[in-house]
């Protein structure tokens, strides 16, 4: 609004310590972490605890972080470790519902015909925009909606595999399913996710 920025004036950069005392930032961060943790743990109370512990851990070591983005990536890394620990621990004392049973219940998205070939309207189109070039906050909201739209077992293993970057063996051990069940779930998750993204994002790109 006509506010002149003097040349050489430093962009507003707060120290990392002040980020974590900034209520708006903290609130936003907590909300995003919680969403992630709930998706992984499927348990609100444990998710709250994991987020709380990750934030406390971050506050203890905050001095070394200059930039807010770096701080956030790091806080998420702590959270991922907490979640991984919790999932490993849970396996030892909770009778985990076996996703192997539910894996067969979840029907494939109806993208294939009875002979296993693509339905015309579900055949993947080429995505006009390279992933590296995506630079739009709206895209990430679309991605979140698509993730939340996955059946829970599919969403969980997809995030463990592609976001937390656990390998197949670790995932199979921590939620106690066979490799082939995991691969079925991942295949279905990928079919659904790509269709959702194409429908709500890449399709608009192609049409324009």
């Amino acid at each position: 609004m006509g506010e002149s920025v003097l040349p050489g004036e430093a962009p507003v950069e707060q120290s990392a310590a002040s980020h974590l005392t900034d209520p708006v930032f903290l609130d936003d961060l907590r909300r995003q972490m919680l969403k992630f943790a709930v998706l992984q743990l499927d348990n609100e109370a444990q998710a709250e605890d994991a987020v709380q512990e990750a934030l406390i851990g971050a506050l203890k070591n905050v001095a070394s972080f200059e930039r807010k983005a770096a701080l956030k990536t790091w806080v998420f890394a702590i959270l991922k470790h907490k979640i991984t620990d919790l999932l490993r621990y849970r396996q030892r004392w909770v009778d985990v519902e076996k996703p192997s049973d539910s894996a067969d219940d979840e029907t494939l998205p109806s993208v294939f015909d009875t002979r296993g070939f693509w339905h015309q309207e579900d055949r993947p189109n080429r995505w006009a925009q390279p992933v590296e070039a995506i630079d739009d906050a709206h895209f990430w909201r679309v991605f979140e909606v698509c993730l939340e739209d996955l059946p829970p077992a599919q969403g969980r293993v997809f995030m463990m595999r592609e976001f937390i970057e656990l390998d197949s063996d670790e995932i199979c051990q921590s939620i106690d399913i066979s490799a082939s069940n995991l691969h079925v779930l991942l295949h279905r998750a990928r079919l659904r996710l790509r269709r959702c993204l194409e429908e709500h994002w890449f399709c608009e790109e192609a049409a324009s």
């Binding site: 294939f112 990430w140 197949s168 295949h187």
Partner: protein
């Protein structure tokens, strides 16, 4: 020949384990004739890249919105 369901399953598995030469050849053959699966074969890796950028992008988005909201007020 494999159908698209089997072909996409193998392409998805390709991110989880090393495929055999036979499996890779089968995918190549299928994809020569199937444009949908050819696109899937790119997107299955795109999904991984998107997931990995997810937290990072959110971080930057938050940074920007905070910067916008604190920028003017901090000059007052």
């Amino acid at each position: 020949m494999m159908n698209c369901e089997q072909a996409t399953r193998l392409m998805s598995d390709g991110r989880e384990r090393d495929l055999t030469i036979r499996e890779r050849a089968a995918i190549k053959m299928h994809n020569l004739l199937c444009v949908g699966c050819r696109n899937f074969n790119v997107q299955v890796h795109d999904l991984g890249r998107i997931a990995r950028r997810y937290a990072k992008e959110q971080g930057e988005e938050t940074t920007n919105s905070i910067r916008d909201s604190t920028g003017p007020s901090s000059k007052e």
